[in-house]
């Protein structure tokens, strides 16, 4: 091992993971394939939040709003007697989530720090009540998507989402696509700016960047990606309810980001994986697994400030530098 340079080692690990993910459906049981698909979807969700928390320095506690809203859009546009076409329903859901993010972001970004946390939470809660109270979206019972979206182009229909293995591969590929998209984004001029914002926003403004605009665009991109995850989630489970926009969901995804370690591209994937496993293990352990989950969260904050990734690397713990904002 010692003669391998770090990049080679990473490549090797990445290759092993790709092969393992690729071959998994050949051996995995039905339950595990569904579970893995769920992890992929949550990984996309967590990656989208990581763009805000880990890279832009925006602590959004209402990220589930976009996840849930995209699911509702799919439920709303999907016909009751057939499949919605993936090619227009997915862009519609993602675009709708991004549009919502533009509205919520535009208002939230006028504030910062702890205000921002409370306001994003409050707006998500507003959406929760909207879907919960409104007579058009099934109320607290939620809404159903009876047919999985179809990827057919004309008569060419190679991918059938009713087949859980097909869905698995689609989700896996989308994780890779989102990962590559974010990698590209972070190396672009835009990415340089948002990373600067996280480190020191006033300095970026003094250097001549209209920082609000960059934060808003980052918020919109993250909202759209959360929308993609929400779309896939609703398509897979065939169901969407107000709980998907709730604060618990926002808290869970934040937990995934922290678990995996913020500010790294692959961290949220690791975080989603760990979170789902933890969730299942704790639930098997006890009926009162939420108590254990709460304990785990508290312990991680107190003892593992850099997440699981922090076990292997030593990084600075972000310190608060602004308070009265």
């Amino acid at each position: 091992m010692t003669n391998l340079r770090p990049t080679r080692l990473y490549l090797l690990i990445a290759l092993c993971i790709v092969i393992a993910v690729g071959l998994f459906p050949l051996f995995g049981e039905k339950f595990h394939i569904l579970l893995a698909t769920r992890i992929f979807i949550l990984a996309i969700f967590a990656m989208s939040l990581n763009l805000l928390i880990g890279f832009t320095g925006l602590i959004s506690f209402g990220h589930a709003a976009f996840f849930g809203a995209a699911g509702y859009i799919l439920a709303f546009v999907a016909p009751e007697d057939g499949a919605a076409a993936f090619w227009w329903s997915a862009p519609l859901s993602i675009g709708g989530a991004a549009l919502l993010a533009a509205g919520i972001g535009w208002m939230s970004i006028r504030t910062s720090g702890v205000y921002f946390i409370m306001i994003t939470l409050a707006f998500a809660q507003m959406l929760y009540f909207f879907f919960n109270d409104s007579p058009y979206f099934g109320g607290s019972d939620g809404a159903f998507i009876y047919f999985k979206p179809s990827l057919a182009i004309g008569s060419f229909d190679p991918v059938n989402l009713d087949n859980r293995v097909h869905f698995y591969y689609l989700a896996a590929i989308l994780v890779l696509v989102v990962w590559a998209f974010l990698a590209m984004l972070l190396r672009s001029p835009f990415g340089q700016v948002i990373k600067g914002l996280r480190a020191n926003e006033p300095r970026m403004r003094a250097l001549g960047y209209p920082t609000q605009r960059y934060k808003l665009v980052s918020f919109i991109i993250a909202g759209g990606l959360a929308g993609l995850a929400g779309y896939l989630n609703a398509a897979q489970s065939g169901y969407i309810s107000p709980a998907h926009l709730g604060w618990q969901e926002s808290g869970s995804v934040m937990m995934m980001v922290i678990l995996g370690g913020m500010g790294s591209l692959h961290g949220p994937i690791l975080g989603a994986f760990t979170f789902v496993l933890l969730h299942d293990i704790l639930r098997d352990l006890s009926q009162h697994w939420l108590l254990l989950m709460g304990g785990v969260i508290v312990a991680i904050v107190l003892f593992l400030p850099n997440g699981l990734a922090g076990l292997f690397t030593r990084k600075r713990i972000p310190q608060r530098d602004d308070d009265h904002d």
Binding site: L185, G191, A206, L207, V217
Partner: protein, 261 residues
């Protein structure tokens, strides 16, 4: 060297006031800064010098009064707009990105001169024009040999240099320097003075400094502030001769260190 007072003011402030509650930190200040001059602002602690810089840079909005850049009213513009118009600043407390390399620090500054950084696809570091501006700024602040060092690992004096270098990378017309020599060793001061002297040839420098030897040797115009107000403005010789300044502030003569009362 031409007499700076003969030139048109590049920056002009009229009736500028900043109140924090009952306290007027900057109180009805009128000042003209000539294009290309080096203008030092001195005064005891609490005289309102840093507040004045913060008003000029846009970090604070003034309570009343106006700031004009040439003919343009820039009073209410935010720091990013002021920066884009050519008013750059450094901070009294070193304000860099400590986790990034010197190169990346200056890169971020230089990239701000792109018409927009809303570019999502190409790799940032492939841009040759920004790279050139970054390297120029690093060379100017004498950190070209330290380009790949993490900024947080630099010595204090080098961090101050980097702070200036970052602002230079934004290609300012006016440079606001808040105590550029504070906390530097003698050797670092000499190096920074050399840098500032070379900059003074092409830029308008407005600086706050407590080192009176430096101020009187270096500045063409000196403004003395006390309690938020301008006590006197003039050439070093005029300031040295001013009875009001001597009474209020300088005490026993300009060569004495110690602006702090």
């Amino acid at each position: 060297m031409t007499d700076p007072t003969m030139r048109d003011p590049i920056l002009s402030i009229k009736g500028l006031t900043k109140r924090f509650g009952a306290l007027a930190a900057v109180d009805d200040v009128f000042l003209d800064f000539a294009s290309g001059e080096t203008h030092a602002i001195i005064g005891p602690n609490g005289a309102g010098k840093t507040t004045l810089i913060n008003l000029l840079s846009g970090d604070l909005p003034p309570t009343t009064g106006t700031i004009h850049l040439l003919d343009r009213d820039v009073t209410a513009l935010a720091p990013d707009r002021k920066s884009q118009l050519g008013i750059g600043r450094t901070y009294q407390k070193t304000n860099i990105f400590p986790d990034e390399t010197c190169f990346q620090n200056c890169w971020l500054a230089a990239q701000s001169r792109l018409p927009s950084s809303m570019r999502f696809f190409r790799r940032a570091h492939r841009r040759a024009d920004i790279r050139a501006a970054t390297e120029r700024a690093l060379a100017l602040c004498n950190l070209d040999a330290r380009a790949d060092v993490i900024a947080g690992h630099l010595s204090y004096g080098e961090q101050r240099q980097l702070e200036i270098g970052m602002t230079l990378a934004t290609d300012p017309k006016i440079l606001l320097l808040d105590e550029p020599l504070a906390g530097m060793s003698a050797e670092e001061s000499v190096r920074t003075m050399a840098l500032l002297t070379s900059l003074a040839e092409n830029l308008t420098l407005i600086l706050i400094e407590h080192d009176m030897d430096m101020v009187f040797a270096f500045a063409q115009t000196i403004t003395v502030m006390v309690n938020g107000q301008v006590l006197e403005t003039g050439t070093p010789a005029q300031i040295r001769a001013s009875a009001a300044v001597r009474d209020a502030y300088l005490g026993h003569g300009p060569t004495e260190q110690g602006a702090t009362p």
